[in-house]
């Protein structure tokens, strides 16, 4: 993934000057005073938290929204007056590309070729080129709805590339896509850039932003900075450290995050990674890290600079800590499954999955899209009936146990399953009610959640109108109200920005400190680092089960001396591919 030389002499494909966009009935403009450029042969990253205005900016450039103020020039045209001219030479892939799920891959391509007016004789070679490029040749007859998340995105990209665009606008193309597909997608776009196409790539993944030739950082509709990512990364140079901790890393992180000197802190396996404020000092002993532990400087990442630029993570301890009663930790495991198997016809989605999770642990289920982690997850929380084997949660088989047993678990789905036209208060009361809380206990539980998660000003808003970060908080509040022993989280932070994600994990860490058990599936590899142990599921089997650090160590090689979690993920999957069938697991 090398960078292109900087062709500053070429005129930009997109020029934005002083752009503002206001929507009716909103207090703050969605975009305000934005200057930006997108050049040919380069990837320009568009990063920022949710609601920063990334999608709005892309839609203005694509000619789908008109600017309230300012100048926009795209491929030499003004999108407000000559949108069709731009559409002819610009590929646009929205967050959820409009694939027709009932149509096959090739039918989707033909349809978009019709819409794009691709002439008949050009179709066969174009389709062949794009299918080869996206590696979808084997799936031309498969319905788009049956493709995995990664393959859908590739097909969306193929459709966006039908008209050989000079400019490609990609709006969060990698949300919900596993690391392997994400790398493939990135490599494909990189190849396009090599052919001279200009790309605007909006993303919530900051490791992706780090690889862009240039980034534009937005926050609350304003541009914070722009330039090559390493320029921004430089701003946190010599302020990033790791702290090796053996015991109680969650507690130590929570204490560290309360100090003013700490701008950002995350768990990385057995270590804590910290970003310190400029000129401030931090004493490991002050957070009880024990004697002999010392801060080790590490190379800064773009993400560190991003959090720094946004003013750091919110201070304060998670109120969950005060609100929840601690659970007595005994020997009995919180979750255990033995030879858990699920067959759909001939297809074995989960094959003899066996593991056990002790109380008070965060356990991660990782794996590529369609590998069986969701199936396993659903069997554990009682949404799917296993074809064979056993699963017990908090001592109960959820398939058979009385409904009381389900009172002991909480569940949070990736889509934040809330009732959009009910208010925050009504959602909270509903979830309290179905978990059997009534009268005074319900009122207390609801008002406690309103307080912990800061919903005071929002209680009467319809939850569908909340910003994404608030929706996530509300979903979490709803799943915690009955103080479950075991919490199931299905891709809980998909599409949520890094700051909201940190806040989320602060709560989860606090929960685990109270003896609760958490089972989580995720595509974010830095999130996997929060787990005590991780099961990597591939082709229905557990191909690795260890702590994140052990997994990273297991793939260490001369070529990759300090592997990241993502490196470990990919290496372990490749290793499993090379083994003869049946030997894995």
């Amino acid at each position: 993934m090398s960078r292109q030389p900087c062709p500053n002499d070429v005129p930009p494909l997109v020029t934005v000057r002083g752009l503002a966009k206001r929507f009716p009935k909103t207090r703050r403009p969605a975009l305000d005073g934005i200057d930006a450029e997108v050049r040919a042969g380069r990837i320009t990253g568009l990063v920022g938290p949710d609601g920063a205005g990334k999608t709005t900016l892309i839609r203005v450039i694509a000619g789908l929204l008109t600017a309230s103020q300012g100048e926009v020039e795209v491929l030499g045209f003004d999108p407000a007056v000559a949108a069709e001219k731009i559409h002819d030479r610009c590929g646009y892939m929205p967050q959820r590309f409009g694939l027709y799920e009932e149509l096959s891959v090739i039918q989707n391509l033909s349809l978009y070729a019709d819409l794009r007016g691709v002439p008949g004789e050009e179709r066969a070679p174009t389709f062949e080129r794009l299918l080869r490029f996206t590696d979808l040749q084997r799936f031309t007859d498969r319905k788009a709805g049956a493709l995995s998340g990664g393959m859908k995105q590739k097909l969306g990209l193929a459709c966006a590339l039908l008209s050989r665009p000079a400019l490609l606008l990609l709006d969060e193309p990698s949300v919900g896509v596993d690391p392997i597909s994400r790398r493939e997608l990135w490599a494909m776009v990189k190849e396009l850039v090599g052919e001279g196409i200009g790309v605007l790539w909006s993303t919530a993944y900051l490791d992706e932003a780090e690889l862009c030739d240039e980034v534009i950082l937005l926050n609350e509709g304003r541009k914070l900075c722009s330039g090559p990512p390493e320029e921004l990364t430089k701003t946190v140079e010599s302020r990033t450290f790791t702290l090796a901790v053996h015991d109680g890393r969650r507690k130590i992180l929570a204490r560290a995050l309360q100090q003013d000197a700490v701008i950002d802190g995350v768990i990385q396996g057995e270590r804590i990674r910290l970003v310190l404020r400029e000129g401030d000092r931090f004493e490991p002993a002050s957070v009880g890290a024990g004697s002999g532990t010392e801060l080790r400087p590490v190379n800064p990442r773009f993400e560190d600079a991003f959090i720094d630029a946004l003013g750091g993570v919110p201070k304060g301890e998670s109120a969950v800590t005060q609100a929840m009663q601690p659970v007595f930790l005994d020997e009995k495991p919180a979750i255990e499954c033995e030879d858990l198997t699920k067959r759909f016809g001939d297809f074995v989605a989960a094959d003899r999955v066996t593991f056990s999770v002790p109380k008070g642990e965060i356990f991660g289920l990782l794996g590529p899209n369609g590998a069986g982690k969701s199936t396993t997850f659903k069997m554990l929380c009682g949404l799917l009936r296993p074809s064979g084997g056993q699963a017990r949660v908090a001592g109960y088989d959820l398939r058979r146990a009385a409904s009381q047993a389900r009172n002991r678990i909480g569940y949070m789905a990736q889509k934040f399953s809330l009732y959009g036209n009910l208010t925050v208060q009504q959602n909270l009361e509903f979830f309290a009610g179905i978990y059997g809380l009534a009268g005074k206990r319900r009122r207390e539980a609801v008002s406690r959640m309103v307080e912990i998660f800061g919903f005071k000003d929002q209680v009467n808003l319809a939850s569908g109108q909340l910003p994404l970060g608030f929706k996530q908080r509300l979903a979490m509040a709803c799943s915690l109200m009955h103080e479950p022993d075991v919490l199931f989280l299905d891709e809980p932070t998909s599409g949520v920005d890094p700051i909201a994600r940190r806040e989320f994990w602060t709560h989860i860490n606090a929960l685990v400190e109270k003896g609760r058990t958490v089972m989580v599936t995720t595509h974010f590899m830095d999130e996997a680092e929060y787990c005590d142990r991780v099961a990597l599921i591939y082709r229905g089997r557990v191909i690795a089960l260890a702590s994140p650090d052990e997994l990273k160590r297991s793939v260490r090689s001369s070529a990759c001396a300090d592997p990241t979690m993502e490196d470990a993920f990919i290496a372990l999957i490749r290793r499993s591919d090379q083994q003869p069938a049946g030997a894995a697991g």
């Binding site: 409904s403 009381q404 389900r406 678990i409 569940y411 009732y419 036209n421 179905i434 059997g436």
Partner: protein, 369 residues
């Protein structure tokens, strides 16, 4: 359990009623349908056009033609000169029927040799034509009675004097409005129930319910009760409109009607929830509603009598709750049918309600697999 159920019922009600568009949509369109459809369901034949070709010059023929052209049922009468013209008027649908009085009509009349007139009806409008024929026949019969026994009317001749019970003036509104009250109630309850599960599936909240302590039967009841009360609420409005706007006489017992509506709505909600359970998207659920609504209407006896259907189809109508409710609603409105008759039509609906609700709960459990 009661607390969980209460929360669920409240949520379902709020989810339906918090959206202002929904609130309007549940009342206004059904009411509009009731008002508009009532007038489209007309089965009266008021605008009958008739063509007459009189080829006889005798007095009896002239008398008959005179009576026909003076009859109030025929809005317009054309006098034509040739059989071709008669043909053209029927072909062009300008008249519904024509009458030809042949040249020997008066001669045979005086000879007491059964005089004949030819009547041609437009079979493309069979219903209207039959009614028109009825009018025509009664005029001709009256004519022959008067002409044959002018001196001593009524002697030795049987006369039929029809009296229409329960609807003396045969006002079609008396028939259509009570029927529409239940048809539109059926539609409202179907709309509310069929979409409810697929909508939650699409939003992802259904899984959330499944992992909660709620039992399948509780979820079913939670979805049933709000739909049930919404449908009853709408039905109440329709009944009031029928009585006070359309002035349909209400002879029966109101408690009996409500009890029947409760059973009827339960059976429809059962069917709706069953469809809802079987569909994974709202689109499928809408198609499912349509696939049920049309047959339910046609096999209810509203458009054509069930007795005229082939036997196997009559058997099929036994599964249609609308069929029983039609009998009850018209019976209670117009003729105060006794409770036994109501009961005889109630238990099949109750059976349908129990059957569909159990099936829906069962498929709910199965869905979890």
């Amino acid at each position: 359990m009661w607390n969980r159920l209460k929360a669920l019922i409240l949520k379902e009600t709020l989810a339906t009623l918090r959206d202002p568009r929904n609130r309007v949509a549940l009342i206004a369109p059904p009411l509009l349908q009731l008002l508009v459809f009532s007038f489209t369901g007309t089965q009266d034949v008021k605008d009958i056009r008739l063509a007459i070709l009189n080829q006889d010059y005798g007095q009896p023929a002239a008398e008959l033609v005179q009576r026909l052209s003076a009859a109030p049922n025929f809005s317009q009468v054309y006098f034509v000169q040739s059989p071709q013209q008669l043909q053209e008027l029927i072909d062009g649908q300008r008249v519904l029927l024509n009458v030809r009085v042949p040249a020997d009509f008066s001669r045979r009349f005086y000879a007491n040799d059964s005089p004949v007139v030819q009547i041609v009806l437009d079979g493309r409008k069979s219903m209207a034509a039959q009614i028109a024929l009825g009018y025509l026949t009664s005029i001709v019969q009256q004519f022959s009675r008067d002409q044959l026994q002018p001196a001593d009317p009524g002697k030795g001749v049987m006369s039929v004097e029809p009296r229409n019970w329960f609807n003396p003036n045969l006002d079609y509104l008396w028939f259509t409005v009570p029927s529409l009250v239940v048809i539109i109630t059926l539609q409202v309850s179907m709309n509310v129930t069929t979409l409810s599960v697929p909508r939650e599936r699409e939003m992802g909240t259904f899984d959330q319910l499944l992992v909660s302590p709620l039992r399948p039967i509780e979820i079913m009841i939670g979805k049933m009760i709000p739909a049930f009360f919404l449908a009853l609420f709408d039905a109440t409005i329709f009944v009031l409109v029928a009585i006070f706007v359309f002035r349909i006489p209400f002879h029966g017992s109101l408690p009996l009607l409500y009890f029947s509506l409760v059973v009827f709505v339960s059976s429809v909600v059962g069917i709706g929830l069953l469809i809802s359970m079987l569909c994974s998207t709202q689109q499928q659920a809408l198609l499912g509603t349509m696939a049920i609504m049309m047959p339910a209407l046609i096999l209810s006896g509203y458009t054509s009598p069930i007795e005229n259907m082939p036997e196997w189809l009559q058997a099929v109508t036994c599964l249609n709750p609308l069929r029983y409710m039609m009998v009850i609603v018209k019976g209670i409105f117009l003729k105060a049918i006794p409770a036994e008759v109501v009961l005889a039509n109630l238990w099949p609906m109750a059976a349908i309600a129990v059957g569909t609700l159990s099936l829906a709960t069962w498929s709910f459990r199965r869905h979890l697999a």
